[in-house]
Symmetry: C2
Subunit: 534 residues, 2 copies
């Protein structure tokens, strides 16, 4: 077959050769760490040599339990570069999920941040911990720990040659893996081959993706333990872009300081983090001339949030992806013919998740298996397929059938399609509420409730009902102690003005906060449990 394999190391070596002085900047607890691609590649080569020396071989899996920093960045390239596979473990998962993931992946090594040692000690059973050949602590020294055997990262790579002869790899080798956050059942692994990451990275570079080139400075607000931090280490290197790694638990001030001081042009994050960033910018009346654009994903995005960024001259891209499909599959860039639309009409388009990127195929299928009309009202499940979208789960042959149809990924996301082909996310399939034979969207109810002046956040669930099958119930966090009848009444008015009568939740329950999943979404399973146990 003519043509060369699609692997990720050429992205890195392009940056090394043609942008050697461009920086990778990390916010650590006490300082800013910075080095160049040239220096990064020397250390990545040392890591590759060290791995090989230590007997790590092709297809071995090494876990990472770590935030966004330069050592994690080095693992992203060094491990797949020798033909092995890294896989990230979300430290915010419940202990039992972490234990499950480490066992499921059959990790040979685990790379771990010093601050997460206690968490992992707690999460792993003695048996699982003892199956790990080596724990590599990614700090300058090793705190006391029961994990064993343990070595620090600098000792691991120190002394090894700073050049490594990258082998020609099969593009279908798995390079990395990420586990779904597993709100129902145990997390499932999604393997990303070199080719999938290559394809997704190229698509991210295109103008209908993030539109990245060597003039960009990229700061990912997505953790490196989640969907490869949107693959930004890869497409950032491919473009020769400067990269900013946000370190552990950044707050809005940290994000904004990095944007200011490192001249960030592009970022991406979940809406909650974006909200923190724009609030900080507004409160401090800041001007961020370098900051051109931000992408929000994973969740619904309000017009208000988009408008606040755009008022600051920061372009907002709403995009959609998922662990199974890598982070960017659709994006809501307005089409050229919308250029002269007025702002509200454009904003409405931007709140949607948009159209597929070049290379992705989509269809929206209703319960009868037919594609839905593009009327902005009929809804169905979004199916996607493409070179960076998985066609199977790791180690779960029995669960593939429910999630895939042929090579199509059944996303579980329910969308409408408007006449220009823009998808609008209505709900996750499993959170749709069926009441008296009619569907109610929990997500649309949440959006409506959250648009109330005194509501901070809301979670709507369906609860069993003898007469109607299911009825909606809303859990609400308010910004003050104004709970109760007064707010419920105005919410009822608001909802009945916007939706059919039967959409109005039977109960409005006021709480101080809502449970969250490990990826920062509202944990609806936990809300259902709480409701049952009342």
């Amino acid at each position: 077959m003519p043509g060369f394999e699609q692997t990720i190391i050429p992205f890195l070596t392009r940056a090394e050769k043609f942008y050697p002085e461009k920086e990778i900047v990390t916010r650590t607890n006490d300082r800013i760490h910075r080095y160049s691609y040239s220096e990064a590649v020397e250390r990545i080569s040392q890591l590759a040599n060290a791995l090989q020396y230590a007997g790590v071989s092709r297809r071995d899996r090494l876990g990472t339990f770590s935030f966004n920093h330069f050592r994690h960045f080095e693992i992203y390239f060094g491990v797949p570069g020798i033909g092995a596979q890294y896989h990230t473990i979300n430290p915010f998962l419940p202990d039992k999920h972490i234990e499950h993931i480490v066992k499921d992946a059959e990790d040979k090594w685990i790379f771990i941040d010093p601050s997460l040692l206690e968490k992992l000690e707690r999460a792993l059973s003695t048996e699982t911990a003892s199956s790990i050949e080596r724990f590599v602590v990614m700090g300058d020294s090793i705190p006391e720990t029961s994990l064993d055997p343990v070595i620090d990262y600098e000792s691991l790579i120190g002394g090894h040659p700073t050049h490594y002869e990258w082998p020609q790899l099969d593009e279908n080798l798995p390079a990395s893996m990420c586990y779904t956050s597993g709100t129902t059942g145990m997390p499932k692994g999604v393997e990303y081959t070199h080719k999938m990451m290559w394809s997704h990275s190229m698509a991210c570079l295109t103008p209908q993706g993030y539109g990245v080139d060597d003039s960009d400075t990229i700061m990912s607000g997505v953790p490196m333990f989640h969907v490869n931090s949107n693959d930004s280490p890869f497409f950032g290197a491919a473009a020769g872009a400067k990269q900013v790694l946000v370190g552990e638990s950044p707050d809005p001030k940290d994000y904004v300081s990095l944007i200011q001081e490192e001249d960030v042009t592009l970022s991406f994050a979940v809406p909650t983090i974006c909200l923190g960033i724009i609030e900080y910018i507004e409160e401090n009346d800041l001007d961020l001339p370098s900051f051109e654009r931000i992408q929000m994903g994973a969740d619904s995005v309000s017009q208000n949030l988009i408008r606040r960024f755009e008022d600051q001259g920061i372009e907002v891209l709403h995009g959609w992806g998922m662990t199974e499909a890598l982070p960017l599959c659709t994006a809501s860039r307005p089409k050229p013919k919308m250029n002269d639309w007025d702002q509200p009409r454009k904003l409405n388009k931007k709140t949607k998740i948009g159209v597929p990127l070049p290379g992705v195929e989509t269809k929206v299928v209703n319960n009868d298996g037919n594609e839905v009309p593009w009327d902005g009202e009929s809804f169905g499940e979004l199916y996607v397929r493409g070179p960076w979208i998985t066609t199977e789960y790791f180690n779960r042959p029995a669960e593939n059938e429910a999630s895939f149809k042929g090579k199509w990924l059944k996303t579980g996301d329910i969308v409408t399609v408007d006449e220009e082909g823009y998808f609008d996310l209505i709900d996750r399939n499993k959170y749709l509420i069926k009441s008296g034979g009619e569907w109610i969207s929990s997500m649309q109810l949440e959006k409506a409730i959250e648009s109330h002046d005194h509501v901070i956040t809301a979670g709507v669930i369906g609860v069993p009902d003898a007469k109607w099958g299911e009825r909606p119930v809303a859990y609400i966090v308010c910004d003050s102690d104004r709970r109760g009848k007064q707010i419920s009444d105005s919410l009822r008015n608001q909802i009945s003005a916007e939706f059919p009568d039967w959409w109005t939740p039977d109960e409005f329950i006021y709480v101080n906060n809502l449970p969250e999943t490990a990826t920062g979404k509202i944990d609806k399973e936990e809300l259902e449990n709480r409701y049952q146990q009342r």
Copy 2:
């Protein structure tokens, strides 16, 4: 293996679904033909159905002998879409090369423009012509012809269903093929698989490629019989861009009218065509507000030509590719750090062929097999590899060894590398002149001679010399009858000011025109023949 195949039909169906009204516009002999992606897909589906109905099957090869127009565009998708392969035949090749190509490819069918019937009748031997199962004439009617059996394109597709269920194809199926122009020996075929075309198209979309999105209108100045017209039908559809097809033998006025009337934003062509376009714009003092950028490839580009475009507000991208590597592998976009350089320094960078696109690997190797230093002076052969660069010739196992080293394509192009990593094309390997043990670049001499006020074009060849091995001789076309000693003297002065003494050609030979190859380059083999036969 998780992940879906990389094939080209999803590019088309994305345009069909999300940009159904965007146009494909063709300049024909007597009018402008226009239709939408939606209509194009209906006809492409008809073609696919017709091919299948007629018994064309996977891996069958169908030749095209045709200029840039909508029917050729339909073949680009319809033929690979069913798993067969189209391959283009350059009508400007000598008859014996055309005969060779048709035999080598074992064409089952040939699609042919009415205006090229006579040419093909002449080129094909009776035996070869009779091996073709069907000639499809791409006009509204069939002129008298000896080719047999013959059918017209509209009759072929007419009546077939306008929907076709595109099969899932293996991405490694060959989708198309292009033959090298074969200045030495017979043309060699280079097959492009779906995956190679997918990869190249995605790279073309990126900002470091052409940077294409749905706001673009693309007019390729590269023939569809040459390297897939730079793959523009594919990446244009992928982006949802409007496309303009220039028809047969466009002159500068045709190009410029299309740019004006169709609001073209992006074009690409060889420097000769670009020169015609800019001259026409200047002479007629035209303003082309839509026309943002033009890419020049395949040849050396003068600072003067770049400046003339930029004076009109049209950005110039100099890029490099070849039949074996698809058209875009490197590009000369200035890096951000060059933003504040003065214009001459920037222009100097832009005349180079630049740095590799994301996804491409390069090295520059001297005769000892070592990579050359980045000093702007040492030169070596450019090696490239990447997902859209071939690793073998079609049907020529014996010739692979000379052209490939492992998976690296030895391009035969000699370049220097400056300290920022920009490649500068010095010469084709085979045109370098070795004189007294030292190398002389025929291309640099040509550039120097062409910068003389009265010189239009020049071709420098090496001729055998008893004492020095080889000596340079220059063939020159002047803009008036001022030939002879006066110009030769000033050229000698100019050359000796710029290069070592021994670079000055032994002879300056004035001619009315220079022979050209089928792809519009100076035919140096023919110059060598002429010199020998003097």
